[in-house]
């Protein structure tokens, strides 16, 4: 097994990426996360490296490639970073004392930018420890759904009217509801997209359309949503329609709980949501394409960006956390070296210092002879 060639890695990577493409709709993120982690496990297990830096290079290279193929799937890059953090923790022992300090974890990721000392352990031990670390991550991933459910059910009480969204696509919400139903007597309202088939495996009391959500919100006591990605500032990406549900919940002062597994928490901010928000089918019949394509832009985002103020609490597999404190758990999973030592970041930072970034067209447009008028 250990003698597997590099081509295998390339093939494995291609298979991973194609596997994501294969399904027409977005699959549960746990499945994607498992696949990515399996790939990374294979990487740390069989790839040749003689020091930690080499491994990090390999990780970064492969990580970049798989991330680039799906820039909006944050789960992929998060997991690459998480594995990279394990590698750093096991490889460099210099800061081991700091990392355990709860006080430091609050600010350290953002402040402490000093380089790690390359204090190396024997390679064989390192590989074993690394594999153990990734395996731990795998276990955490496997158990994270039940942990979320366990922690989340504390927030719901008997008599609640709970509004959920994207019930069909989120297996976490399904198991969450199943669990609280056993414990409490409550009423569930599911917001369905019009094209979505009803979920027969998991019948709920009410099915409503997204446009009804605002009026029904008056009766709802809790909103439970499932995040696609959570950013350190407490903002998050939700399935389309999620933001409007949050807005009407805010209007009626209904608490919004967002379920989110650890691998969905990203260690960086999103400067411009439009670079990752993609649009899906225009939602018009294809018969109109000849007339409309290129003349009409119909915006049907595949995911929605939601501001931190709209979410009451995030429920992760380890804790329940206020949106403004999300950044505190970042150090549990990511290493600052991965986030801030990348050339891109440094380049961007330099750019930030010298000029403003991404502000539309250049400041002045010199007068030109319009060929149309000429």
């Amino acid at each position: 097994m250990a003698s597997r060639k590099k081509e295998d890695l390339v093939e494995l990577r291609a298979k991973l990426l194609m596997g994501i493409k294969r399904s027409a709709t977005r699959e549960p993120s746990l499945k994607l996360a498992t696949e990515v982690l399996t790939f990374l496990m294979r990487l740390v297990r069989h790839e040749k490296y003689d020091k930690v830096e080499t491994l990090l290079e390999v990780l970064h290279e492969n990580g970049s490639l798989i991330t680039a193929a799906y820039p909006s799937e944050f789960v992929i890059r998060n997991l690459v970073l998480a594995v990279s953090k394990i590698a750093r923790d096991e490889g460099f022992r210099s800061d081991i004392s700091d990392a355990t300090s709860a006080f430091n974890s609050l600010t350290r990721l953002w402040i402490d930018r000093r380089k790690d000392d390359t204090l190396r352990v024997p390679l064989k031990d390192f590989r074993e420890k690394l594999i153990d670390g990734v395996r731990e991550l795998q276990t955490e991933m496997e158990t994270c759904r039940e942990n979320i459910v366990r922690i989340g059910t504390e927030l719901i009480s008997t008599g609640d009217i709970v509004m959920v969204h994207s019930l069909n696509s989120s297996t976490t919400i399904q198991s969450f509801l199943k669990d609280i139903r056993e414990k409490h007597k409550l009423r569930i309202m599911s917001v369905q997209n019009s094209s979505e088939p009803l979920n027969n495996d998991f019948p709920v009391e009410d099915y409503i359309k997204l446009c009804e959500a605002a009026t029904k919100m008056a009766h709802v006591t809790k909103v439970v949503l499932s995040a696609i990605t959570v950013f350190p500032d407490g903002s998050c990406l939700l399935p389309p329609g999620g933001r409007s549900i949050c807005l009407s919940a805010q209007r009626h002062n209904v608490p919004v709980y967002v379920l989110c597994a650890f691998y969905k928490i990203a260690p960086y901010f999103l400067p411009d949501p439009s670079i990752i928000i993609k649009h899906t089918l225009p939602g018009l019949p294809f018969g109109m394409a000849r007339k409309f394509a290129g003349r009409v832009r119909v915006l049907q985002p595949a995911i929605e960006y939601t501001e931190p103020g709209l979410v009451s609490l995030y429920v992760t597999n380890t804790t329940v956390i206020n949106p403004h404190h999300v950044y505190r758990i970042i150090t549990d999973y990511y290493h600052q070296g991965d986030v801030y030592d990348s050339p891109d970041f440094q380049k961007d930072e330099a750019a930030l210092n010298s000029e403003k970034l991404g502000l539309g067209a250049p400041a002045h447009i010199p007068p030109v002879n319009d060929p149309l008028k000429a």
């Binding site: 400067p271 294809f286 018969g287 991965d338 050339p343 991404g358």
Partner: protein
């Protein structure tokens, strides 16, 4: 002209084991019946054969044309005749050498050739031995010994030559499975005027794996024996190549596979080439259609991507041999994502039909399949309900052979189809040249046919494997009887690229997410860059993002819904809308590009305005140009002085068309390194829905589609190409080719197939087919003489019986004859002879009935010059008719 033996007329080398050269016999003088008074070939009989038991000594006392004691001297072909010295004469004609040569017997020398085949890992193999003398591979056959029957020879030779003399029980079983493939004359280098080879070739297919564990062992006179691929490039001995070609490989493989695996997997077959002349200019200097980019992604990658989502396990790409190497990287990349991924290289494929025939002959498809005849066919449907419906229909009735997939969309061609209510069976299909016209037929009313104009053909079809079997294509009614259509649901779309208009449209759809999840950010990208878009939906190719951070995009250009390649340079105030710009392209100040595709490394000047334009790679456009609906092929430097509007809908290329290959193209030189390409068919290069004249009449840029249509209406007098003449031309070419190939049943079957394909392609009715087929036959070279006509007709008897059984077809034949008579002076005397020959059942063809002849005769004008010509025959027919009645 019929089969002429060639190998035994070779004068380049001396006759085998001798110093004697054959005398040259020209093709025209091969037949004994042709006078060739100066013919005086050398007489040679190999002295080594004298006194050998297998050789004849004297001519006296031999019982010719009969079984002579233990020796079979009957020919499989004919009763042979004799020369002045009493030697038998080669039934195929002169060879340039008299005597017995190295052969043992005067007259026919009988051989037997067993072709033993098996199917392994989806490929077909046959047992071949390598001859030690020539190194060529050959079938392990041999001469029939005296007193031996053919089947004994087959068994003996095979076990001697291929199995080292072993006889096993497995073989006994195998020998019961023989099917005779060929029996008759062999064009063998050993043949002489008086002595020739004949063979019986029997095909044994080992579909039960009988020979799986049997070791092949070469005999002393062979260097090797092994299973070789039937499509091998290795040289095959003499006539054996012909024999191998006679094996119905398609049927063999299908039979054996279907027996084993009834649940064969649904596969996708993509014809990876484009036979559209419009795109020729893009490949003038190499490259293939598949590699052509849409949204900077090769076409084939987009197609494979949606196929991946349709979840078909098996993909077969058919590609012309010259393009095979271009697809190698595609195979390497995609092989791992499908259970089976095959690229089939087709020799000399010039049409979709050619490639499909190749597919059949290789028997690679053994189950029903999805056919995409243009790789540039994109859909966001997974086709699951359509596939299911197709399979249900197939199970209900095996004759439901095909389902065409349509999408609800506006078709610029406004093509029309008729569908039977309820069953979705295709009942009316538009003609090729007037897609928007309905020719009303009675059955459209009686059968509750719904005429639909709201659909567009997606270019995707589900086909039964039987569609490949020739018999079905021979059935004239296939077009209407057994084809169904299925329509994609309203939110699913599909698009096909067949001209530049649809090219631009397809990229517009992809850029605007109309085919989501096929959209730029989801398309598979090469490892060197990734796509990121900004709020205006302009996609920028980025270097691979370091995953550690997210950075905001620069905004280089104005506009929306476009895709910009990497390393481009965009000056200020460039506006790009619904367009794709290739890598490394420079665009000047304030240039506007709308609905266009621009290739790699182009230089576009300042202040240009490009609207609906297709620009290849490395094109240079000077400042302040205004282009609309133009195609600029690779490496063109756009002439700055020209009046651009004259080129609307036209293609400019720096090179003239390749003289050898591109016959659908006319070319005008504008200036040095600028050539204007036009289609000979008169259609605009830009769009197949437009004619050139329509475009030229449009003033300015306002190409209003209504205007165009009006123009369209009076196009008839502008030298439009008539489908009947195309049909005639096509079948004439096919027939000439078949004649060149020589005669056997297979070639005639192929001819039938080609005629039927042309009929379908040009939407020719059965009546027209009957008439024009015969007219074309009459124009063939061999048919200029009566004996030539007769000889060919007898060889093509199957063709005649196939098409001329119904009486109305016979009458059409006679009408064709009549038209031919009017068009050709001096044909008169031949006409009654031909009619008689076609009528005569004993010596002629017997395809015409007397009633048809009489009926046709009645339709002739009273003063028609044909009446006196036909008088004798008609009188005789009427007489015999009366006689029949009185009996």
């Amino acid at each position: 002209m019929a089969f002429i033996h060639a190998k035994c007329r070779n004068t380049d080398a001396p006759y085998l084991h001798s110093q004697i050269h054959r005398v040259k016999v020209p093709d025209a003088k091969v037949k004994w019946s042709t006078d060739f008074s100066e013919y005086s070939p050398p007489d040679y009989t190999d002295p080594k054969t004298f006194g050998k038991p297998y050789a004849d000594d004297k001519l006296d006392g031999i019982k010719w044309n009969a079984v002579d004691g233990k020796i079979n001297r009957k020919s499989h072909v004919v009763d042979y005749s004799f020369d002045d010295e009493g030697r038998p004469l080669n039934p195929m004609g002169r060879t340039g050498l008299r005597g017995r040569g190295v052969l043992g017997r005067w007259g026919p020398n009988h051989a037997a050739d067993p072709i033993v085949t098996r199917n392994k890992d989806g490929r077909l193999y046959f047992v071949a031995i390598q001859r030690s003398d020539t190194g060529e591979w050959a079938i392990p056959g041999g001469m029939v010994d005296a007193g031996e029957n053919v089947s004994a020879t087959l068994k003996r030779e095979f076990s001697e030559e291929a199995l080292g003399g072993k006889k096993t029980d497995e073989l006994k079983e195998l020998w019961t499975r023989g099917k005779e493939l060929y029996k008759g004359y062999v064009d063998d280098p050993r043949n002489t005027d008086n002595s020739w080879m004949e063979t019986v070739c029997v095909h044994f297919h080992d579909d039960a794996g009988l020979l799986k564990d049997v070791d092949l062992e070469a005999a002393d006179d062979a260097t090797a024996v092994r299973w070789i691929d039937v499509f091998t490039d290795e040289p095959l001995y003499a006539s054996h190549e012909q024999l191998i070609k006679m094996v119905p490989w398609g049927a063999v493989a299908r039979d054996s596979i279907q027996k084993k695996d009834n649940e064969a997997k649904f596969s996708a077959v993509i014809v990876a080439d484009n036979f559209e002349h419009r795109f020729d200019a893009l490949f003038r200097e190499g490259g293939t259609w598949c590699q052509q980019a849409v949204c900077n992604v090769p076409i084939i990658e987009i197609t494979l991507e949606w196929l991946l989502r349709a979840n078909l396990p098996k993909v077969i790409l058919l590609v012309a041999e010259r393009n095979y190497n271009h697809l190698k990287p595609v195979e390497e990349k995609w092989r791992i994502h499908f259970e089976q991924f095959l690229i089939v290289s087709c020799k000399d494929a010039l049409s979709v039909g050619d490639t499909l025939r190749e597919l059949d002959s290789r028997a690679l498809v053994t189950s029903d399949f999805l056919l995409i005849d243009n790789p540039a066919t994109f859909t966001n449907s997974t086709l699951k309900p359509q596939l299911q419906a197709f399979q249900e229909r197939r199970n209900a009735d095996k004759h439901n052979v095909m389902t065409l997939i349509y999408a609800k969309a506006d078709d610029p061609q406004k093509s029309v189809i008729g569908v039977k209510k309820g069953t979705q069976k295709l009942a009316y299909f538009h003609s090729a040249d007037h897609p928007s016209r309905v020719t009303v037929e009675k059955n459209l009313f009686t059968e509750e046919v719904v005429i639909r104009r709201d659909l567009v053909d997606t270019g995707i079809a589900f086909c039964s494997v039987n569609i490949l079997v020739q018999e079905i294509l021979v059935n004239e009614e296939i077009l209407l009887l057994n084809i169904h259509i299925d329509v994609l649901s309203a939110n699913e779309g599909a698009v096909q690229i067949y001209d530049y208009d649809s090219y631009v449209y397809a990229s517009k759809l992809l850029l605007n997410h109309w085919l989501y999840p096929l959209s730029p950010e989801n398309l598979f990208q090469s490892r060197d860059y990734a796509m990121q878009s900004n709020v205006a939906d302009i996609y920028y190719a980025q270097d691979c993002i370091r995953y550690g951070s997210l950075k905001a995009l620069r905004v280089d250009v104005l506009g929306t819904s476009s895709l910009l390649g990497k390393e481009g340079t965009y000056e200020t105030a460039v506006k790009v809308v619904n367009s794709v710009i290739g890598n490394g392209t420079t665009i000047g100040l304030a240039t506007r590009i709308t609905d266009s595709i621009v290739g790699k490394n182009c230089k576009i000047g300042k202040g240009c305005l490009l609207e609906s334009t297709f620009i290849g790679d490395n094109v240079t456009i000077p400042d302040n140009c205004r282009l609309e609906k133009q195609i600029l092929s690779h490496n063109l430097i756009y002439p700055s002085t020209s009046d651009e509007l004259n080129f609307i809908g036209q293609l400019l290329s720096p090179l003239p068309p390749d003289e050898d290959s591109e016959d659908g193209i006319k070319c005008v030189k504008i200036q040095d390194n600028v050539y204007l390409w036009k289609l000979t068919s008169g259609f605009s290069v830009w769009s197949r829905a437009l004619r050139n004249n329509a475009l030229f009449s449009v003033n300015g840029g306002g190409s209003n589609s209504d205007d165009l249509e009006e123009e369209d209406e009076d196009e008839d007098d502008l030298g439009e190409v008539d489908p009947v003449s195309i049909f005639q031309e096509e079948i004439f070419d096919s027939m000439n080719r078949i004649i060149e190939l020589g005669f056997n049943d297979q070639t005639v079957r192929n001819l039938t197939l080609e005629i039927n394909s042309s009929k379908l392609a040009n939407n020719i009715s059965m009546d027209d087919l009957s008439k024009y087929l015969f007219k074309s036959i009459l124009q063939l070279d061999p048919c200029q003489t009566i004996p030539g006509f007769k000889a060919l007709a007898l060889q093509w008897k199957n063709l005649y019986t196939n098409y001329y059984r119904p009486q109305r077809c016979q009458i059409q034949l006679l009408m064709g004859l009549e038209e031919h008579y009017h068009a050709h002076d001096g044909f008169g005397p031949k006409l009654p002879l031909i009619v008689h020959f076609m009528y005569d059942e004993d010596k002629g063809l017997g395809v015409l009935d007397d009633t048809s002849i009489l009926e046709w005769h009645n339709t002739l004008d009273g003063d028609s010059p044909l009446r006196p010509l036909m008088k004798q025959l008609v009188d005789w027919l009427e007489e015999s008719d009366d006689e029949d009645d009185s009996d």
